[in-house]
């Protein structure tokens, strides 16, 4: 399922009644099974773009499609993960991760079995009955990721999912993300402010301009898969990273 944005614009209403443009107009496509990273200066509308794709925010102008479906509400084949872990503090880890199944009306035994399997894959065995506040930041984000995976959509929208974590944990989790994606090859749109992360993970890096964010560069990352942490020292990687950085630096001049 292709994601297509056509002349999408979002503007917020400023307090004085004036209109404050936040995004676009912007047009691009994301192919099925593609892994796209969105980078850009802070406040350029990356999160706004993600919310439009998630169907949480109707665009002021233009259209967004997922395959043949107009995105005018949250679509079942699209899942979103936020920067803050966004777990329910009153639910155990197990119940948090099983939430999408619960909403979908899956029977309890199935929910429990699948949630336990997922926890095992995430190396969170033994934390089933823990509460979110008892987890470290990295563990909590893994639970949130597990929740997205259990939702079993074709498209994952990840809004700076590891932004609040330290560099080492972030790198570990990024690679885990690739592992978990595995052979099912979901389409992923990931927002990040970390250029290395973007280049390491993506098939394409899309650079947005300053507010209101427009398409500034669309760089194909032709590094081989599977990717690994030591790739960041290869000349190809460095060249691509430099290319992305140059685009962003242009903005600062």
């Amino acid at each position: 399922m292709r994601l297509s944005l056509h002349e999408v614009e979002v503007s917020y209403r400023a307090p004085a009644g004036a209109s404050l443009p936040a995004l676009g107009p912007i047009t691009f496509d994301i192919a099925e099974e593609e892994f796209v990273c969105l980078v850009g200066p802070s406040g350029c509308g990356k999160s706004t773009l993600i919310r439009v794709l998630a169907g949480l925010l109707p665009p002021t102008a233009g259209t967004a499609y997922c395959g043949g479906d107009l995105i005018d509400r949250p679509l079942p084949q699209i899942a979103i993960m936020f920067q803050d872990t966004n777990l329910m503090p009153w639910r155990t880890v197990l119940d948090n991760i099983a939430l999408p199944l619960e909403i979908a009306g899956a029977p309890k035994s199935e929910r429990q079995r699948r949630a336990r399997d997922m926890l095992a894959q995430l190396n969170l065995d033994g934390f089933e009955l823990a509460y979110p506040a008892e987890l470290s930041g990295g563990m909590a984000q893994r639970v949130a990721l597990g929740r997205v995976i259990l939702q079993a959509p074709r498209i994952w929208l990840l809004d700076e999912p590891f932004g609040a974590l330290d560099a080492l944990t972030r790198e570990k989790l990024s690679l885990e993300l690739l592992r978990l994606r595995g052979r099912s090859r979901q389409t992923i749109v990931l927002v990040t402010h970390d250029i290395s992360e973007a280049v390491l993970l993506a098939d394409r890096v899309i650079v947005l301009s300053r507010r209101p964010g427009k398409l500034l560069a669309d760089i194909a990352i032709d590094l081989p898969r599977p990717r690994s942490a030591d790739m960041i020292y290869q000349p190809n990687f460095l060249r691509l990273a430099k290319q992305v950085r140059a685009c962003i630096q242009d903005l600062d001049d």
Binding site: A54, L56, F82, P89, Y131, E134, Q151
Partner: protein
């Protein structure tokens, strides 16, 4: 603008002791566990110590006749009066009446508070429409218009149920509004992106998220319920603890006045305790993560 008068009592509803307790546990955490055990024990014992000390002071005052027996009867006389009132069924009968009025009053007042509170939290326009009425109702002393309620609803239990409902309505309303408005917008986004229905959003997000605040309001309501019922009974009634106080007072039976007042205190504390117990059961996650 319209929210401020309604939102203000939130701090009161959460309860000074709640806040104090939280600060206390936080302050204790880095310390050695033995000190915590010590502190917890002391804390658990302190109400008992306070009550014992009060009884002693009470006994002393009457023993040495520091204050006339007319004003403060000796504890022993109050105990005698309690035994007598228990034995002849007086206390049980009046307590039963008041408890019944309180429970129905709570049922009505709290559910209406929850319903209107939820509606206001979801539709801010409603707040603009309703808040003048609600704030006016809340700021008018109920003792002033209780006689009117007695005339409208009669001298039976229904008028006391109404006075109780009126008085417990407000904390439940305010805390519902505060609780529902406090639901994380990110979690709302999550529920929307999961295509959750209205009922699912209420049941799985709004209710559990607002529950701590709603229960804090319910604690306040539980203690206010006694006031509502007794105010109603004071104005005109045949039975109930308010009537018993007036009767005992009109017969200069001061020990019985004390017995009745202490019974009201006991009822208020038990109801508070009951809600606290429910809170303890429902919000165990908060203790784990405090």
């Amino acid at each position: 603008m319209a929210l401020t008068p309604v939102a203000l009592p939130r701090v009161l509803c959460l309860g000074i002791s709640d806040m104090a307790e939280k600060n206390f546990t936080q302050a204790m955490q880095p310390q050695k566990s033995r000190i915590i055990v010590h502190g917890a024990l002391l804390r658990r014992l302190s109400p008992v110590v306070t009550i014992m000390a009060m009884l002693l002071v009470w006994h002393g005052i009457t023993e040495w006749q520091l204050v006339s027996r007319i004003l403060i009867p000796p504890p022993a006389e109050v105990l005698d009066s309690l035994v007598k009132a228990l034995a002849d069924g007086t206390l049980a009968k009046h307590t039963g009446t008041t408890l019944g009025e309180m429970i129905f009053g709570l049922l009505f007042g709290v559910s209406i508070g929850l319903a209107i509170g939820y509606a206001i939290a979801k539709a801010p326009l409603l707040e603009y429409i309703l808040s003048p009425i609600i704030v006016a109702f809340q700021s008018t002393p109920i003792v002033a218009y209780a006689p009117l309620l007695i005339i409208i609803f009669g001298t039976g239990p229904s008028s006391k149920i109404v006075t109780t409902a009126v008085i417990v309505f407000f904390p439940s309303l305010v805390n519902t509004i505060v609780g529902i408005r406090g639901v994380s917008p990110r979690l709302r986004d999550l529920m929307r992106s999961l295509n959750a229905g209205r009922w699912q959003i209420f049941r799985k997000l709004e209710l559990p998220s607002a529950l701590p605040v709603i229960l804090a309001g319910l604690k306040t309501s539980a203690t206010l319920a006694v006031i509502g019922a007794v105010v109603g009974e004071f104005v005109g009634s045949g039975s109930g603890l308010g009537v018993l106080v007036i009767t005992a007072r009109s017969q200069y039976d001061t020990p019985l006045v004390y017995v009745t007042v202490l019974t009201m205190t006991a009822i208020a504390l038990s109801l508070y305790g009951l809600v606290a117990l429910v809170e303890w059961r429902l919000l165990h996650w908060q203790r784990r993560t405090a």
